[in-house]
Symmetry: C2
């Protein structure tokens, strides 16, 4: 049996938590994997030392996942070509804005003929032209036939602390046993399904729903109302999948961790909910709240609401998604936050 | 068109909130309903006056739903036979322990030949012999062919305050338009489905899941873990339905308000979650916590966990429902609360 050689492309908070899982699992299944896992780390200086040197010396990523020990077979490599050399499995876990550049860089590198890839990238590329899943973007740019996706109720720090959770992988049937071995642990329980598109749609669209849930919280509407908004949001997520991806997206996907569980987590904690709550309470603009509450970082849910609105507008289908529409109208068109219940 | 005459059987907190909805809706649809709705009120003395007299004089139920105005066409009647006389629609909204007696009393009363009934009763009758849905219990005792059921994420006080929520009715197709008119309002949005069994199963089994969620909260496990427990609980609820009610119980039911929305509400607030959280934190017994936290009232979720365990044990199927089993073992057999993640 030829062993897989795994490379993790990315090393932020989530990439580091995943590196810990993958590093340990390749040792657990020595027959299936090479023991060394290389992790491509974007080089930075941290306290006068190169981040890769710190990681390889201390087996900790003090910048993105402080306090969590990483397995010593996880080797930080600053050069993308070196990190991915001879790899047969690429785990993409990058901020979405870097995907294209990294893929273009990788397309210049001699990758293994049999390389497989999985996307842990959050979000979607969506505009009036269409929806692009990052798994498909990677497949296209690297010339791969199919790329898997992983998503779930997986707040990175909780995963790193080995708090029990679940996650969903959507992949081709041939790759199921390998990905299960690579990611499943007693504290990170993986379900593998066929629907890579649904997995990724859930991970992006949930953030719009979280904005709706946050508005409801900000208005003090109570738990019945919030549960109704979350439920209707889940139904619009499902409808979106069926409408634009057909039978590829399956009903059962929404019962998986990537669906209902991630939605629950996102709508109970999370920045999208929190900032939207403040939006309804204070009447301040999202830009202003991003400055004061997020140190200027962009809120994902409101951005996705806008992109989805442009996509639906171009197809004259806005009215078929009343929750998505209402979130957009409240955030961008000055509609009253109370529309979150009167207009859905 | 013959108009329906509606009687509400029960007048507690939830019965009063529902009485408000139904009283208003019969006036909204005057072609479909007689304008008077009689409500059977178990007679009590409240501040030296009969409760029915207070309700009919003040249009408020000060004991069970203080501060909420009731429509004046909702008439409190202390005598069951008088309350139900000529009624063609009976809305059962009683504590479950009174169902049998009330049905037996009603079986002595001349009911309309065409009487229809809907159960808003929470819970199930479940023991080693089998599962009895209250809708079916009512049907059997009153000699009716089919009885509908309503359940959802409907905390009574929030409904009474007209906070937006949704609810699910499971009924025969013939009765769908009538029940929709009777219950749907702009703030209480009703979806009507065919699956009366699933609606009721969700309303009972969710409480076991809420115990699991409360244990996780008490152990400080965070939101990934709780979302995983809620999701697995939903899957066991669905599996229970399919296993013991076959194709009567439909997957989609679990996406309705009675399913996922009610489960979210119950696992985020609610006494089952709260007492179980304290159980995990303090190590005190459930009996002791019932005394100190619930004024001696019984916790529903732990009781249902026990009844479901007896039912499954008698069928040698305990291991097929690991979450239900684990909740039982933690509460009744001294297993560590941490089993809520290690054993499911």
């Amino acid at each position: 049996m030829v062993k897989e050689r795994v490379c993790i492309v990315g090393s932020g908070n989530w990439g580091s938590a995943v590196g810990k899982i993958v590093g340990n699992n390749v040792l657990r299944y020595k027959d299936a994997f090479e023991p060394e896992v290389r992790q491509w780390v974007f080089q930075e200086t941290y306290k006068n030392e190169k981040l890769t040197d710190i990681i390889n010396r201390t087996h900790e990523n003090p910048k993105y996942l402080p306090g969590i020990g990483l397995p010593s077979n996880l080797v930080a490599v600053p050069d993308l070509a070196e990190a991915t050399r001879d790899a047969t499995v690429l785990v993409f876990v990058l901020p979405h804005q870097f995907v294209k550049q990294v893929c273009d860089d990788l397309s210049q590198v001699p990758l293994s003929q049999t390389v497989k890839a999985i996307s842990l990238i959050k979000g979607l590329e969506i505009n009036s032209n269409g929806v692009t899943l990052f798994s498909e973007e990677i497949a296209r740019r690297l010339g791969l036939q199919h790329v898997a996706a992983l998503s779930g109720a997986n707040i990175a720090n909780e995963v790193a602390e080995e708090k029990f959770c679940e996650s969903t992988i959507g992949c081709h049937a041939d790759d199921e046993p390998m990905y299960f071995k690579l990611f499943d642990t007693p504290y990170f329980r993986v379900q593998v399904i066929r629907d890579h598109a649904g997995v990724q749609l859930c991970g992006a669209l949930k953030n719009i729903v979280a904005v709706g849930a946050g508005l409801s919280d900000g208005l003090g509407y109570g738990s019945n109302t919030k549960a109704a908004i979350v439920r209707r949001g889940l139904m619009e997520m499902r409808q979106f999948g069926h409408t634009f991806f057909g039978s590829v997206v399956q009903d059962n996907t929404f019962f998986e961790s990537c669906g209902i569980a991630d939605l629950i987590t996102t709508c109970s904690g999370g920045r999208n909910r929190m900032v939207s709550e403040a939006f309804a309470q204070t009447g301040k603009s999202i830009e202003e709240l991003e400055k004061t509450m997020l140190n200027g970082q962009k809120l994902q849910g409101t951005l996705t609401a806008k992109e989805v609105h442009e996509f639906l507008s171009a197809r004259n289908m806005v009215d078929q998604f009343p929750l998505f529409k209402t979130v957009y109208r409240i955030i961008y068109e000055g509609a009253s936050p109370t529309c979150i219940v009167t207009d859905i």
